[in-house]
Symmetry: C2
Subunit: 235 residues, 2 copies
């Protein structure tokens, strides 16, 4: 995630949540999010740490035609590759802008040498992928469309299953029970969240697993242990 | 920022934007945001990198009474300090919960040894500060209240000044002009953002500086160079 605009509070970052939801639906674990300023050395450093530690990295932002769009250069620098123009994207840009095309527009055809262009019927413009780094734009509508276009490619058939129990408890009342359940159901990630903005419940308890039955059994065990008047609802 | 709930898309992270806005108002540059899973080794590693590189670090989340609340332990581990109970916070918890107090509730009195408690009339509960790490809760309403309570402490009188010009341009048309202005106004950080969700303009150009006049002069120069029909509005 690249962008001064998020770090200065000018623009709300909605791409993190969209990415998190899409990856969760596809059974892909999102492990870390880093939001950086528009500075090449910092982006290169963070990108090198992330791409070494994770199977895939998604960047958002910094791919337009202006001076503050430095993500392509930073990805290329991280991989030690030159930046080259994609003839295919350059042709699309020329066709799109016609007579008013500028050298700045054509900067959007740049990519790290040896990148793959991932095409999809869902999105007219291809996505540049450099090894395990997927380069996406920051504008939310385009980020979402391009990410949607990658769903088939990212989907390896894994799924996360979730059961959620909404309670009227405070967290202190159920902490011991949740600790017991965590040890009893090691395949399930149990999360407990105090919510003050919804008057219909107080604490939301989530049971995530790649094993549908395990998620359900753990949620059942929690629900069964809860005094009935403390249960708000369950999904 | 600590939390599986954000990485799985269950809960929207609103704390990043609140923190970004408050720090911008106080003239403090937010340089990086990292969102981690609820895993001690990762939090320790990220925290040690962040606290070495920056004057201040703010954590959000992972400070409740349940098994997945591990931020205090992780901060203590990062500093190589034991976790101790704050007698003052423990007394507040006992007074708050009365007879129903549990050992889980009292976990919320834990802090890294040698931490400072920052009190404020704006917030009943003190904030635990371990050297340059400010430990804040993830629940947005409480995060915001506690951050507001820290405003006086964080304010060193520095200010950022911002002028923003909203245009009907596409970014390619103004890229060269913005590059020229970036070199001509080195004290100003110029940002350019394509926005598709607001029909009243297309590209928002921001001029940030610690120097009020410099920000205004750069925005004036940009506005003057813009064909009048391309100007949507200016703030």
């Amino acid at each position: 995630m690249v962008g001064n605009e998020i770090l200065t509070g000018k623009i709300e970052d909605t791409n993190t949540r969209y990415l998190a939801r899409v990856l969760f639906e596809l059974g892909v674990a999102l492990r870390q999010v880093v939001i950086c300023p528009d500075e090449t050395d910092i982006i290169v450093r963070e990108l090198n740490a992330l791409r070494a530690a994770h199977d895939m990295v998604f960047t958002s932002g910094g791919v337009g035609p202006t001076h503050d769009d430095i993500t392509i250069d930073a990805v290329a620098a991280a991989f030690g590759r030159p930046v080259v123009e994609s003839p295919e994207i350059a042709a699309m840009i020329r066709s799109h802008f016609g007579d008013i095309v500028t050298p700045a527009h054509l900067r959007m055809a740049n990519m790290p040498e040896g990148s793959e262009l991932v095409r999809s019927a869902r999105s007219g413009w291809p996505t540049v992928v450099c090894e395990n780094v997927y380069i996406l734009p920051g504008v939310p509508e385009i980020f979402e469309r391009k990410l949607d276009a990658l769903r088939e490619r990212l989907d390896e058939g894994q799924r996360f299953f979730n059961h959620t129990v909404y309670t009227h408890c405070d967290e202190g009342e159920i902490a011991e029970l949740l600790t017991t359940l965590t040890f009893a159901h090691p395949a399930v990630t149990i999360g407990s969240y105090l919510v003050l903005s919804d008057p219909t419940y107080r604490v939301r308890v989530t049971f995530d697993s790649v094993d549908a039955l395990a998620s359900q059994v753990a949620a059942d065990a929690f629900t069964a242990a809860l005094p009935v008047e403390k249960l708000a609802r369950r999904t």
